[in-house]
């Protein structure tokens, strides 16, 4: 049972002082699965992502990746195991070119398990930039990109780590309808490569179209988890979003 799961979050609790951001959350992802994670602002979605990715430490509960307990692992070890995330607020390496931004995860994370020859790093970076539509900006300084391009770069950098699970934290906020479709196609394409994706998103159209399963967080608790149609029909979810 356990080995079937790519990611297995059990009973995770995270407190900030007296405030409980996550309370006893269970959450699983199977290999290659596309999961939507939704919830109102402040419901704990990003906190959960941070606990999974290792940028925050959960006080209680266990997080397993491919059956291995990763709670004690630093973030860089988790990404080397194949657990990549993009940031909600883009964090480009501003003094580097767009191409060099991708070389960092290629050199430090992907090379470990992909056995990339050093000479192929740039080639691979350019291929990924082509996928996200940034090939033309490869030599531009990443600090000077537009917000939209920075979001694409954020996603490309996560992809460059060659993950088995990619967590996309609001990659589509502020994108136009056609750009949302581009990113959706991109993320869906990852499934063919066997990459599982957790998509955190407010753009409901995208979440519904993309997800095979949706989990809903409200005030730090998971209130629903299932196929998209049944989740949006769930009375508790409707109440959380629209009120009584």
């Amino acid at each position: 049972m356990m080995a079937d799961m790519l990611l297995e979050v059990r009973g995770v609790t995270k407190r900030f002082g007296g405030f409980t951001a996550l309370e006893n959350v269970d959450f699983v992802v199977r290999p290659g699965e596309r999961v939507g994670l939704i919830g109102p602002n402040g419901s704990g979605k990003s906190t959960l992502v941070n606990c999974i990715a290792g940028t925050l430490r959960n006080e209680e509960g266990s997080i397993r990746f491919e059956g291995e307990e990763i709670c004690g692992h630093a973030a860089h070890r988790r990404i080397r195991m194949g657990l990549a995330r993009s940031f909600q607020i883009p964090k480009p390496f501003a003094s580097m070119t767009v191409l060099d931004n991708l070389c960092v995860p290629l050199l430090y994370a992907a090379r470990r398990h992909e056995r990339l020859a050093p000479g192929r790093i740039v080639e691979e970076a350019l291929r990924i930039l082509g996928q996200v539509g940034l090939a033309g900006r490869a030599r531009a300084m990443s600090g000077g990109l537009t917000q939209v391009d920075m979001r694409k770069l954020e996603l490309a950098r996560a992809m460059a780590a060659k993950p088995k699970l990619l967590i996309s934290d609001e990659a589509m906020a502020g994108l136009s309808a056609s750009e949302v479709d581009d990113v959706l196609a991109l993320l869906s394409g990852l499934k063919e490569q066997g990459v599982a994706v957790i998509m955190i998103e407010h753009v409901m159209r995208a979440v519904m179209k993309f997800s095979e399963r949706i989990a809903v967080l409200v005030a730090g608790r998971k209130i629903a988890d299932g196929d998209p149609q049944s989740v949006v029909g769930n009375a508790e979810v409707v109440r959380a979003y629209l009120g009584e």
Binding site: A53, G54, T55, A74, A75, H76, I79, R80, A84, R85, F87, K91, P92, F93, A94, S95, M96, D100, C103, V104, P105, L107, Y108, A109, A110, R112, R157, A161
Partner: protein, 315 residues
């Protein structure tokens, strides 16, 4: 250019330069050049942590002094020759850097800077009260009577040694900059969290970078007791080392190994010139004025300015 070729060329240039300049009849040249070279090493070393990694070290003087006082200690204990002092001083300063890194690198930005400054103060007080190395009185280190290579005075030798050590520091800095390690350090400088989430082992890299930086600073100090034959804490821990080792990379440019070299040669030479023509008290004032000028006019230093010009031309 590969690291090996660069190393061979740089060390060869340093050796040739050291040999050819021995013909200069003016004794003062060696003393002034020694000081400039000392700053080349300090600035290059500081830049490994400050420029490449983005952690501002205000405690440069402490590591410089660790190198200098290791020489004094070994001289007092075993009459150890200069070469032994150089190796030992570099290692001890590197170890101190490892300690500083391990204890403080979880601190970010200004907090790290304050911690490094605090370390300098603690070490200063320690040395002032350590009688074996002279305490507050200072200590004498007698220059050996026999000078190798038939050089006329000891300062000629110290100068040549410092020149080769400066070349070594540049080789190390460039090798770090061009390596995978250098890319990881740059990622840390730009955004530490994003670096960690891109697989960069940030703590390990920061500790390595602190160690390398501090070891080279210590190396710069190992020849210092022989330079004046006398050393006391307030000159070894002088504020001017801390200030200059920050100002020189800032003025030269912090992104590449060339920046600190240019900054140190420029600022160091101007200071030496002013010292003999105007007054020695004007030194730090000049550093201050130049710093203000560069921060406003060329915030990325001379190299940054050159890079921007190149990019404009390339378009």
């Amino acid at each position: 250019m590969s690291n090996k070729i660069f190393a061979a060329v740089t060390i060869a240039v340093a050796l040739v330069l050291a040999a050819v300049t021995q013909l200069i009849p003016n004794e003062y040249f060696f003393s002034a050049a020694y000081t400039v070279l000392l700053f080349v090493i300090l600035a290059t070393a500081w830049n490994i942590l400050g420029g490449y990694t983005g952690y501002v070290n205000f405690g440069s003087a402490a590591f410089f002094a660790i190198g200098a006082y290791t020489t004094v200690f070994l001289y007092n204990a075993f009459k150890a020759p200069l070469a032994v002092g150089i190796v030992a001083g570099t290692l001890v300063a590197g170890l101190a850097g490892l300690g500083l890194g391990y204890l403080t690198l979880r601190l970010r930005g200004v907090f790290f800077a304050i911690a490094s400054l605090a370390l300098a103060v603690v070490l200063y007080i320690f040395v002032v009260n350590w009688d074996y190395v002279g305490g507050a009185r200072g200590a004498y280190v007698i220059q050996p009577r026999e000078i190798p290579f038939g050089l006329p005075r000891y300062i000629h030798l110290i100068y040549a040694v410092q020149l080769v050590m400066a070349a070594f520091a540049l080789v190390v800095a460039r090798a770090i900059e061009k390596s995978t390690l250098g890319r990881g350090l740059a990622a840390i400088r730009d955004d530490e969290l994003a670096a960690e989430c891109s697989g960069v082992p940030t703590l390990k890299l920061k500790i390595f970078s602190t160690m390398a930086s501090c070891a080279l600073m210590g190396m710069a100090g190992t020849t210092f007791p022989y330079y004046l034959s006398y050393i006391e804490p307030s000159s070894a821990f002088s504020l001017s080392y801390a200030v200059n080792s920050i100002a020189m990379p800032l003025i030269g440019g912090m992104m590449s190994w060339m920046g600190p070299l240019i900054g140190a040669v420029l600022l160091g030479s101007v200071q030496q010139l002013v010292q003999v023509t105007v007054s020695s008290a004007w030194n730090l004032l000049i550093v201050g004025v130049l710093l203000v000028l560069f921060v406003t006019l060329a915030p990325n230093g001379i190299m940054g300015w050159v890079d921007a010009w190149r990019r404009r031309k390339g378009r």
